[in-house]
């Protein structure tokens, strides 16, 4: 009893009790699950990862087949999520930037258009929009009556874009090169260590990086080019189906489109908030110094607005990455859908749920880490004048 009277020991006891109860809950749940699963003849463990799945993925960037092991298919799922996430984020940011700029412009007509866009697309659930665009994509005419638009063909089998006649590996390598080049450019532009480098030298380095990237790209495409075929292929109707070019499946573009439209509305509001956060004094000072509208926008308002909006943007990006799980409603094999079908086929419920959680934790934490890094790199040292 004397133990309970003492504040310190009482606190310690309370904490042990709290953590203990939580742990006990988790352990009981895990034990019950193991017991129930064993009753169904499912052994727990990670061995299933090396067994072949027996089902096909609806979409994957690298070749997969039904005889691939689970770990490979799960990895492809992660890749699909990242792929769709990056496309969705990029387009959502573009749309959002446009909407946000329209909403802060001096022109009332642009403001009105931006507001109407924002209110319509922000207030309808994303899943309704995904269903709608997917239904629309599926009701495009059949390949025989495909709509032609500038070399591309639109049909219910997907959008066919003109493409290059190159091997699969070189496409992947090309994307990797492009991503590396862009990252390098971003690093050169933003990293603190290059702050002191004179602009002329910096620009020259940037040009060099671009040139090397382009040359590498050309080399990769040249090496991957299938001999004896023209480099560029246009999609065309052959028999009942369309051959040649790149096919973008309805699932992929419907989902990416919905995410871009919906995310764009939210990001537009963040962009507007960022511009509003730039103090009036800053713009007035720019005007007083004789900077033109354009200079004041690119040199004063935009950089300050980006700094103000970046932390909120990080949250929105994490949210949008999580929204790719809507792939399951249209049959896009994202990470979550792969895990869900793996659960129904293999029954390794606990392990797969663990993988799912770990996967999203890693994706979201790395995204947040990158964004925080950028945030820190461009943050103004000392005080930030906000009024």
């Amino acid at each position: 009893m004397a133990l309970l009277q003492h504040q310190k020991s009482r606190n310690a006891l309370l904490q042990i009790l709290y953590v203990g109860v939580l742990l006990a809950l988790v352990v009981t749940a895990a034990l019950t699950a193991r017991h129930n699963l064993q009753a169904q003849g499912i052994l727990s463990g990670w061995n299933f990862l090396w067994k072949s799945t027996g089902w096909d993925m609806t979409f994957s960037l690298l070749p997969t087949s039904s005889s691939d092991p689970y770990w490979w298919v799960l990895l492809m799922g992660v890749l699909n999520t990242l792929f769709l996430g990056i496309i969705g984020l990029t387009f959502a940011t573009l749309v959002g930037g446009l909407v946000g700029l329209a909403r802060v412009s001096d022109n009332k007509a642009a403001r009105l258009l931006g507001t109407i866009y924002l209110e319509i697309f922000r207030n309808i659930p994303l899943i309704v929009q995904v269903f709608f665009w997917y239904a629309l994509a599926n009701r495009l005419p059949s390949p025989r009556q495909a709509i032609e638009a500038g070399g591309a063909l639109l049909s219910n089998r997907g959008i066919y874009l003109p493409g290059l006649n190159i091997a699969g590996w070189s496409v992947a390598a090309g994307f990797l090169t492009l991503a590396l080049g862009l990252t390098l450019l971003l690093w050169l532009a933003l990293a603190r260590r290059f702050r002191r480098v004179p602009p002329v030298l910096r620009r020259r380095r940037g040009l060099a990086v671009m040139l090397v990237t382009l040359v590498t790209l050309a080399a990769i495409f040249f090496l991957g080019h299938t001999p004896g075929t023209p480099l560029l292929t246009l999609p065309e109707l052959k028999g009942l189906n369309i051959r040649g070019g790149y096919r973008i499946q309805p699932e992929v573009y419907a989902l990416a489109f919905a995410i871009a439209i919906y995310g764009g509305a939210y990001i537009g509001e963040i962009v507007r908030g960022g511009f509003i956060a730039v103090g009036t004094g800053q713009t007035e000072a720019a005007k007083a110094l004789g900077l033109s509208e354009w200079q004041s926008f690119t040199r004063i308002r935009l950089p300050l607005a980006i700094r103000a909006m970046l932390p909120i943007l990080t949250n929105q990006y994490v949210w949008l990455i999580k929204a790719t799980t809507l792939g399951i409603v249209v049959g896009f094999a994202d990470f979550f859908m792969v895990v869900a079908s793996a659960i129904t086929h293999s029954g390794q419920t606990l392990e797969l749920i663990g993988i799912l959680m770990a996967g999203f934790l890693i994706i979201n934490f790395s995204l947040a880490a990158v964004m925080n890094r950028i945030n820190r790199a461009i943050a103004l040292k000392g005080h930030q004048n906000r009024s």
């Binding site: 904490q15 109407i116 239904a135 007035e284 979550f336």
Partner: protein
């Protein structure tokens, strides 16, 4: 901190002058204005033409008549609105479902009145509204035939999931926020880890886990009904987000308040209930309403685990071969229903934000 306006302000703004300033201040501005108005007029005309002028409204019309008219085929709504709103609820009992929806909407409207913004009042309004809803929907009392949860559907199910999530999630969120702010490090850290883990997961995966995996994990006597498991998952997700919002609100409460209360010898539960939480909620009100908006939209995700809520019953409404062509009309109708709720809530949130901003000034 309003929109940046650096242009010279004319002393006497005539209406014509104002129009010139707002829309035609420079050649670029003129071009943008013309483009925007052109786009708006074009979209407006297309929508009006499709949705009203050439549309078919008669309940008797089918695909042939609609195609001939060339516009929207609202006949599908006229024929299938009961399925969309009430799902598979027994046809003769659907008036109960309608009344239940009205009860919940009344509860939502009532809770917008500042008079009811004390913990006890708001809690009793929601408890009363929820009880009315549940009694009407489930029946089995007062001569109402029993309708099991599997038969609930449409808008009523959407509203049920939303209110149940809010009613369970809100106390849970307060508990999470207080535990995370605890001075005892291990309690704060463990709660923080739980909240962060839930927040980093997509809601769909939580719903999926609750619907399909939880039966393996739980002993047989807990949460037998799938609907309640999914609500529990949704409430947990709501609570994790709302807890962070409340915690943010708590950080806005000056530390001196708590210290003053402590020096007056006020016990912890009164310090929390009478000093900390009322102020924290006031600070967090805009974000809280935003969270309610998002939660309402996210109820539609339960379609993934096989519930017959608004979106799913809409899919069923054009699922027959007779109406399969009219999917756009059905989605527009459902989107409009969601829009009314969500837009109303978010406008109210914006109004509150302005109202509180004047109080703070």
């Amino acid at each position: 901190m309003t929109a940046i306006d650096t242009g010279p302000v004319p002393l006497r703004a005539t209406p014509l002058g104002r129009i010139r300033k707002d829309y035609f201040s420079s050649p670029l501005s003129t071009a943008v204005s013309l483009l925007c108005f052109g786009l708006l007029l074009w979209i407006g005309w297309v929508l009006l033409d499709w949705g009203v002028l050439r549309a078919t409204f008669s309940a008797e019309a089918r695909q042939a008549e609609c195609r001939a008219a060339g516009g929207a085929c609202w006949s599908v709504i006229a024929n299938r609105w009961r399925l969309i709103l009430f799902g598979l609820y027994p046809y003769e009992e659907q008036w109960r479902s309608a009344l239940a929806c009205i009860a919940v909407i009344a509860t939502m409207v009532l809770s917008c009145i500042p008079f009811l913004w004390t913990g006890k009042r708001i809690a009793s309004v929601w408890a009363l509204g929820f009880a009315t809803f549940y009694l009407l929907m489930k029946g089995g009392l007062l001569g109402l035939p029993l309708v099991r949860e599997e038969q609930w559907g449409g808008l009523a199910l959407t509203l049920f999931i939303f209110t149940a999530t809010a009613i369970i999630g809100m106390p849970l969120a307060i508990a999470f926020a207080l535990l995370r702010n605890s001075t005892l490090p291990w309690i704060a850290r463990t709660t923080g880890a739980v909240i962060d883990a839930v927040r980093s997961l997509p809601l769909i995966s939580i719903l999926f886990t609750c619907a399909i995996v939880l039966p393996f994990v739980l002993p047989d006597f807990v949460l037998q009904e799938k609907l309640y498991r999914v609500i529990a998952g949704s409430a947990l997700f709501f609570a994790a987000y709302q807890a962070e919002i409340i915690r943010g609100g708590m950080q806005g409460v000056a530390k001196g308040q708590d210290e003053a209360a402590m020096s007056l010898g006020i016990p912890y539960r009164h310090r929390v209930a009478r000093i900390l939480l009322p102020q924290a909620f006031r600070n967090a009100l805009p974000a809280t309403i935003n969270q309610f908006v998002i939660t309402f939209m996210e109820t539609s995700l339960v379609v993934v685990v096989g519930f017959f809520e608004l979106l799913s019953s809409a899919n069923a409404a054009f699922g027959t071969s007779e109406w399969t062509f009219a999917f756009v009309e059905v989605y527009v109708f459902v989107a409009f229903l969601y829009f009314i709720f969500v837009f109303g809530l978010s406008r109210y949130g914006a109004f509150l934000e302005r109202r509180m901003a004047t109080g703070q000034r």
